[in-house]
Symmetry: D2
Subunit: 323 residues, 4 copies
């Protein structure tokens, strides 16, 4: 007899990032990554990729400090939402209900142990294509944009945390996440962990913050599904003066063909060039990388990562420590 | 309030096909698709792809008639297995328990309304790499083979059925499958349906049998994840005299970059070149293709499919009707 | 002792096509294929791809009849130009000198035996990037456009001819072309021939006109170099209502990964997804495809081509014969 | 009036490398890169890739010191061979005629100013496929091998030189090479130069030897034409314990998608994933990279190269200086 798994969270639904350069950030996602502006309200711009089915998956909010606004999960049913709220409240991490936002209905907000603002909701608004945006490819919500090298959908988020284990356990217990892979230090404590509720190797990753800060964001990730598109968009990004931190590589963890670039506000954005490997085994044994294997976890194909990759997060702290 | 979904089936675990030319069929999967022979017993050869984690995902059994032996699902928990058995028995499709087979423990066997033999199990044996097959890529169960153009894992199965709707409903009700896409005729009856319990657009497809036969197989599918590998393996297959039925195309349904080839026994094998699109929305509205859209469902990129694609299944019936 | 080869023609430099729908044709090349408008004069628009180094490689001229305006070769030296003019004049195909056009200096015009208008020149104008178009990739004349799925450079032209052999011989004798591959009929007459002065398998192809017309165009071809971009642009073309005649396939001849689409004026445009194979052997023996091999010459990977592919050319003749 | 170019060298025809571990080196090229053993004689093994048309393109000779044996060009005609011999002799770099070797007839041997042994020949033996190796793809000399991730053809060679300029000038004057790109130091002296007689951006490269040694080899290069194959072969190489020096990157110079690996003898081998850009302009202006642009010349996409890349050559000198 095995404990029944928690199937209450369906997936990562949207992310809000802060940017001190709102219009430049919007231009990056719109013109380079081909994303669509879905709506604007106050200091926020709501965007989506062309294969995102919901009204929006990215909110960019003008803010003097760069970083994560909040991240949002969709539950699998209305009652699953209630169950998760109850669990979170019991654990003492709850903030409370909000009436909703552009694109979704009432949502329950809470914080990770590290302080990252999160939320869960059920009611959602779908993107409705205008007639000139309807495509004959009926499983795709709109036409492929002819702008930039367009990403297809939101993939995952990677958070920095002062205490990795505590945050990993919270995601497991409060939300039903499964730890798919982890990097362990010599004391068998998590250096980093990759978790999912889906068949992806990760919907959320938690990595130890080298600066021992709390609540920071390492990166958000959008998905192409084709490695060639990483090369295509690299040319576009370089030619337009954006800073690519890591050119196309292949991680060991998740087997992702990917790259990293900074959006103008300063947040790190990952682009995924394939689907990595998918996990179907319901009894998956967490893959554990330790000692000298760790190098292969980070780079399966790739020469080296800049030091900054392991330190820089948003909000940007003690800049000197980074460079 | 929404009815709680059934999360009891985790995925398609393995498929048994019949072949009148056992060794030639094994050679095809081993030398062209780079699969490994895991075990042999009696008239059966057990094989797996290099990213399949279980002991085997394909069983080829010598048989005078080509076609499907059986297909097998893994449940999400031991208790989920019991729940599904109870549901199937109630519906009157059960056969009974077997003690297990090479690679898995006790399993419950049953038939689809159309007669396809199916089974569910929980206890499974994992592939254990010998030392010379261990890879530093710890989430991969073994080294990449240096033989053929190796497929990575089992993807899905596509069944022909005399009555599509009846079989689709069985998969929904007995096993908790979700209908992700369907092609409908003018009377809104299913011509074909694509169903999954995972984030894939389909783990199982059911298509109407144009010959009105029962219990036939349209194809099994293994996965590459990279469209280029379809071109690579095409050269190898042509040069070695195998019959490619459909060269690389892109379906509308599932957005799959794929191709079709006949293994020497006569079963159709699909090869998947990307991951298509993935479904994360827990409230996914079935995509419905009708009328003139149907052509795009079948071919999003691609010139035409041979007539045979819509008629040929295994076992091969009334050969004249096919050619 | 081998006869010294003629090295006087360097490459295909530009093509003029006629279109009855000038602005729609321009929009196709600009917005779908990411090409740049270099200049406009009278009823002509001069365009180039972002890796074309010259001022222009495509001229679209408004004309009531669709088809080839002219095609233009660049000589290897000024004196090579004079030598070719002398040879052409001797053979009786010359028209005469023109002072030049936008993008190049004085040019000698002539006709193929079939009547296709051709020209050779030496003096050329290079594209000069404005400051905002300069790229740090110094071997590329400008930034990668963020519009459509941009083609990289002009590749080749394919002409229909009433008498294939006569036109092939003209290209060999007057211009020094080498026949790289040919399809022969049962009488060993050319059905089609692929010729080059470069390492490409063809700069020019000549195919027998099934309608026995003279001077028609089968297609012009622009180059991506990456098969994935054929899939990318297919989505864009379908979504924007363009007619793809042949979705991505692989020819045997030249080993090209390619596709065919009609620009709005009616001319067929090929897009090249890789570089095919290159020819370095200075003593290359023409590859000859005959009898049942011919099918593989046309389709190495690919199911079938529409009948139209073998009949339709521009100008469009006896439309009934085509459809 | 422009000086008539020299068209006497057609291409790089083969390379001999020395290896102290003959059988291990052969196994690398055969089992990882899918090359064929064409012949063995004495301490030498003659190999070719499956799209190489000649009898062999790589000779591996057992030798206690690793490095370049010799490299060989094919002339465009028999008389072109005589012309080049005369020119080389005049410049004082000649060694003399040999009767030929396995795969080619009489050849003239000489040394570059730096001492690299070179040769030119005209008479060549073609690979003749045995019946079981014949393919229906008639422009390909044999079937695609089902072993490793097979390279398609020899691409180029990169030599280290004590005095770059002197060697570059020799290739220009004696052999008719064109300098396509160069990296210049602050005194406008060549740090490195890429030269070709073909449409490739380089058939031969010369780079300054950081250790100021003479006559060393930086790398030889075989060609895939598809970036995906670099990822495929990387997995195979890592899993089989080979040392990848540089995982897939994209150079600015030549726009090559490529990677570097050491064969067991110690020679560096580059694998080319696309065709880079091709040069058709007969009056190509050498692309010059200087100052801070130099970084982009070396890495257009890619994070960094190991220090070793700029120092290590074969024969290996003063190992300490490298590591």
């Amino acid at each position: 007899m095995i404990k029944e798994p928690i199937f209450d969270i369906a997936h990562l639904a949207h992310i809000e990032i802060y940017s001190p350069k709102l219009e430049e950030s919007v231009a990056f996602f719109r013109d380079m990554l081909g994303m669509e502006v879905a709506s604007r309200k106050g200091k926020s711009v709501y965007m989506r990729a062309y294969e995102d089915h919901y009204h929006n998956t990215l909110i960019i909010t003008e803010h003097d400090e760069v970083g994560l606004g909040h991240m949002s999960f969709r539950s699998r049913t209305p009652q699953a939402l209630e169950r998760r709220v109850e669990a979170i409240e019991k654990m003492g991490y709850g903030i409370g209900w909000i009436d909703g936002d552009i694109g979704h209905g009432r949502a329950y907000q809470f914080r990770s142990p590290d302080g990252h603002k999160m939320e869960i909701f059920w009611d959602v608004d779908y993107y409705e294509a205008t007639d000139d945006q309807k495509t004959n490819l009926l499983n795709r919500p709109q036409k492929r944009p002819g702008r930039g090298v367009p990403v297809r959908r939101l993939d995952h988020i990677n958070l920095l945390a002062k205490e990795t284990n505590k945050n990993v356990e919270f995601l497991e217990e409060a939300l039903g996440f499964n730890v798919r892979e982890r990097i362990l230090d010599d004391d068998n404590k998590d250096v980093a962990a990759w978790l999912s509720v889906s068949n992806l190797a990760h919907d959320v990753a938690i990595m130890g913050d080298a600066l021992e800060e709390e609540g920071r964001l390492h990166h958000i990730c959008y998905w192409y599904g084709y490695p060639q598109n990483l090369s295509d968009v690299s040319d576009l990004l370089i030619d337009n003066g954006y800073e690519i931190e890591v050119s196309p590589i292949k991680h060991g963890v998740s087997q992702a063909s990917c790259m990293y670039v900074f959006e103008p506000g300063g947040n790190r954005v990952e682009l995924f060039g394939d689907s990595g490997y998918l996990i179907f085994d319901p009894d998956w044994k967490t893959v554990e990388w330790k000692g000298e294997d760790t190098e292969r976890a980070i780079l399966w194909h790739g020469s080296s990562l800049p030091e900054e990759f392991f330190k820089y997060g948003t909000p940007i702290k003690s800049k000197e420590a980074v460079k």
